[in-house]
């Protein structure tokens, strides 16, 4: 029983001149209840577009060209405005990028959380306040009350991030989409946030789509990993497999770029790291064939003209690469 099913989602951005730039093309994946799906993508891969598109929060020049987003059976792309509003925050929580500016600068924290509860549940004032306090207490181990009375600029980056998390889970959603929630935090705070997510997953049976560009974060955290490249799903599979033996040339190349493990031999210090040659493609050029082909070490003749389809390489593991086709 899937919680979220995305089929063939395609999104493009249109410039005033009428030119279009495809940001996502034919994206397919599913998320089960209580599952953490890690979406791994670099800049330009379309990961933020994906997060926004799921709830139709694209900017005015972004159009969803085709596809469907089935959440608990309903297609979100066809939902009426009021129905969509109820789902946003109510059934699906969203943590967008830029935590430092995602909070209203002149409203108190408890008010910003209470407004969300009020928007989805018809409770009286006292019940809302109680629920708000509960939420803040669940993300802040100490000092929850003082933080509730503070303003965003009085909090540190980590504290603001926790507030965003409290906002996302305020109404007990079954899915949270988090777009780089730990990007601007240092390692210990990052770890605390990941722990918090794990705790929430256990207590609330929360499913998550965790978007990041750092593969190391997903180890031991995500159940499955989806790799996004140039707006297309390159590979999707269980985390241990994906991180130890990836099959798509891009995933392989990406993981090889990382500096040596901390525990391994240090004779390799200041050696050249592996890089992926070339630059990410300019999607506005609408190139044919595999988008990774120009940079791929394993490219074949057919890759220039043919777009790869998803092929199953083992259980739950799919790769979109012509090496595995047919």
């Amino acid at each position: 029983m899937t919680l979220l099913e995305v089929c063939n989602l395609s999104v493009a951005y249109f410039a005033r001149s009428g030119e279009s730039c495809p940001a996502l093309a034919g994206v397919n994946f599913q998320v089960g209840p209580g599952e953490i799906l890690g979406v791994l993508g670099e800049s330009g891969s379309g990961k933020s577009t994906l997060a926004a598109a799921l709830l139709r929060l694209l900017p005015s020049n972004g159009i969803i060209e085709q596809g469907c987003v089935l959440f608990e059976g309903k297609n979100l792309l066809e939902a009426a405005p009021e129905g969509l509003r109820k789902i946003r925050g109510g059934r699906i929580g969203l943590i967008l990028q830029e935590p430092s500016s995602s909070l209203h600068p002149t409203m108190r924290i408890d008010q910003q959380v209470a407004d969300i509860v009020a928007a989805h549940k018809s409770l009286d004032r006292r019940a809302i306040t109680e629920r708000t306090n509960q939420l803040l207490a669940s993300v802040f181990a100490v000092d929850a009350e003082r933080i509730g009375r503070s303003y965003p600029h009085e909090l540190s980056g980590g504290q603001r991030q926790r507030v965003l998390i409290a906002q996302a889970v305020a109404c007990g959603p079954s899915l949270v989409v988090a777009d780089e929630p730990t990007a601007s935090l240092d390692p210990t705070t990052q770890l605390e946030i990941l722990q918090l997510f794990r705790k929430l997953r256990q207590t609330l049976r929360l499913a998550m789509i965790f978007i990041t560009h750092n593969p190391a974060l997903l180890a031991g955290f995500a159940d499955r990993v989806l790799v996004l490249y140039a707006g297309r799903v390159a590979e999707i599979g269980p985390t241990p497999q994906m991180l130890s033996s990836p099959r798509h040339p891009y995933t392989e190349a990406l993981l090889r770029c990382l500096p040596a493990h901390l525990d391994s031999d240090h004779g390799a210090r200041k050696s050249r790291l592996n890089v992926i040659s070339g630059d990410p493609p300019d999607l506005a050029l609408h190139a044919k064939g595999c988008q990774f082909e120009p940079r791929c070490g394993a490219r074949m003749e057919v890759c220039k003209a043919n777009e790869p389809m998803a092929a199953t390489v083992s259980e739950l593991h799919e790769v979109s690469c012509l090496k595995f086709a047919g």
Partner: protein, 269 residues
């Protein structure tokens, strides 16, 4: 060998109001001492608020320390007047974390790299352009991007421009304040390689501020760990990585995400 940079007992206090927690004077740096040998890399690590950026700003002479000395090639730059400082500034250059906000988005890459030459009145007009293009070549930015505005470049390209700009005045010491943190993994690898190449070809010395232990392990000869305005541990990179002795170091190491296994803290959560 004489260290290129020697910081001794540096203290920097900020007046009330800057501290977000309390209202009294806040010591961002509380007696910091370190030294960097020429043509080596020192990684400065620590949590946010530990004072790493303040230290960089003081060394770059963008902030005046409250007390202590900063000896660069034997000269105490903390005690210099502004006019004397102007002569020293080209030797110590900064590269910041976020190229989007450290580069003027409306200027072209070429203009950005030319500017330091103009400000310090080096070369003449036509030579400056030539020199700037040379610098862009050195950081492997394709010539066709030289005329592009900064906001039209990707993160990695912007950071290359920032590095080229820092190289314009032929510095001896480069302060890299989380210069790789905002970049994608594959781009981090490219810029890391660039930095290593530049160090060996130009004889640069780096103070590399980061909280990424993996990158520090890869790039640094020495590591210093800061906590609350002090250096709590420092030494050769291998020693710090294999046998950390301070809690702050251990905490940082433990929270660095790794591949082969789940960080133990997460497992026990």
């Amino acid at each position: 060998m004489e260290p290129l940079l020697k910081v001794e007992n540096l203290v920097k206090r900020y007046a009330a109001g800057r501290s977000r927690a309390s209202g009294h004077k806040f010591a961002a740096l509380d007696g910091v001492s370190l030294s960097i040998a020429p043509q080596t890399t020192l990684a400065l690590m620590g949590e946010s608020g530990s004072g790493k950026s303040t230290l960089a700003l003081c060394i770059a002479c963008l902030e005046r320390p409250t007390s202590g000395s900063i000896s660069f090639e034997g000269i105490d730059v903390a005690a210099l007047e502004e006019t004397q400082l102007r002569v020293m500034r080209p030797q110590i250059q900064l590269v910041f974390q976020d190229p989007a906000s450290s580069l003027n988005p409306r200027w072209s890459a070429l203009d950005l790299v030319r500017e330091p030459l103009f400000v310090q009145r080096r070369f003449r007009q036509p030579e400056r352009e030539h020199k700037a293009l040379e610098l862009l070549d050195r950081v492997a930015l394709p010539r066709k991007l030289a005329g592009r505005r900064a906001d039209e470049l990707s993160g990695g390209q912007k950071q290359r421009v920032a590095i080229a700009r820092a190289l314009a005045l032929e510095p001896k010491l480069m302060l890299l304040d989380e210069a790789l943190s905002a970049l994608d993994c594959s781009v981090q690898a490219q810029i890391s390689n660039l930095l290593v190449d530049l160090q060996s070809s130009l004889g640069l010395t780096y103070l590399f501020i980061t909280h990424d232990f993996a990158m520090a392990a890869h790039l640094a000869d020495q590591i210093a760990v800061m906590e609350r305005g002090r250096i709590v541990e420092s030494g050769p990179a291998e020693k710090i990585l294999c046998a950390p002795s301070h809690d702050a170091t251990r905490a940082l190491l433990a929270s660095t995400p790794r591949f082969t296994e789940t960080p133990s803290v997460l497992v026990n959560a």
